[in-house]
């Protein structure tokens, strides 16, 4: 099988998952697609030497680092939330919960958000997260704790009320 066929197969299997990771990081589908495109292009260029390293790990690393690099470049344009989340309504549906969580996640500093996404969305270990971010295990632990605290602070009482299945 040629390099292009291999890559196309991998793309079909993993592009959506990578875009979902990018979306959780940046909260914007268009930007998530741009990040995915950059990651996939880098993956294609590095394809021959990635067979042993691990494609998923490399792709995740590129997505997170592209996000962080873009964030540094675009820090002036970053949106800042100015209002607290609304009070919990009587009928609290899935869509509202999702929006609330996304808004809260967007308020977490980018590096802490990256740690949260890698640890709790991609289910990576602390060591794997540290490797993906190029930092120490201790840094991952502290950033994760701060990220969870920021999320809890942002969601307020909703942090404990929200249910995973939307109830």
């Amino acid at each position: 099988m040629s390099r292009n066929d291999d890559f196309s197969e991998y793309f079909a299997a993993r592009a959506n998952a990578l875009r979902a990771t990018a979306y959780l990081l940046c909260g914007d589908w268009h930007r998530a697609e741009d990040i995915t495109q950059v990651a996939m292009t880098k993956l294609y260029l590095a394809w021959p030497r990635l067979r042993e390293v691990g494609l998923d790990a490399y792709a995740r690393k590129v997505v997170v680092r592209t996000f962080l690099a873009e964030n540094r470049r675009l820090w002036r344009k970053r949106e800042h939330l100015t209002h607290e989340p609304p009070e919990l309504p009587a009928e609290f549906g899935d869509a509202e919960q999702r929006l609330l969580v996304q808004a809260a996640l967007a308020s977490v500093p980018p590096r802490q958000r990256a740690v949260l996404v890698l640890r709790y969305w991609n289910d990576l270990s602390v060591e794997e997260t540290a490797e993906a971010l190029g930092c120490s295990v201790g840094t991952v632990k502290s950033q994760a704790a701060r990220g969870v605290a920021a999320l809890r602070r942002r969601l307020g009482p909703h942090f404990d009320v929200l249910e995973p299945d939307g109830r």
Binding site: F7, T21, T36, W121, V148
Partner: protein, 103 residues
């Protein structure tokens, strides 16, 4: 396991569960883009090597070539003060001879 960990895991699952718009990327587009980048990189590498080789060659030529000695000045014909002296002497001689023989 920390209950907070489980809660954050559930929150992120909720935020990321929506499917989103259809993916606008295709593997063919990525492959084309990747090939173009590889071509540009290859071209840049070749151009860089060519420039380095040219630079090294010119440097070697400049270092190994012997310096050309400055050209010697052209040989000028010698000055003629001797001739002038001779003419004066001769003239004097003739004058003397005429003076002697005329009377």
């Amino acid at each position: 396991m920390d209950p907070d960990d489980e809660r954050v895991r559930a929150l992120l699952a909720k935020a990321g569960e929506q499917p989103g718009p259809p993916l606008g990327l295709t593997s063919d587009a990525i492959v084309r883009r990747g090939r173009r980048i590889r071509l540009i990189r290859w071209g840049s590498a070749v151009a860089g090597v060519a420039v380095v080789i040219a630079g090294v060659t010119v440097s070697l030529l400049l270092v190994t070539a012997k310096p050309v000695p400055p050209a010697s000045p052209p040989h000028l014909p010698s000055a003629t003060p001797v001739t002038t002296t001779t003419v004066d002497v001769t003239t004097t001689t003739w004058t003397t001879a005429e003076t002697t023989s005329s009377p």
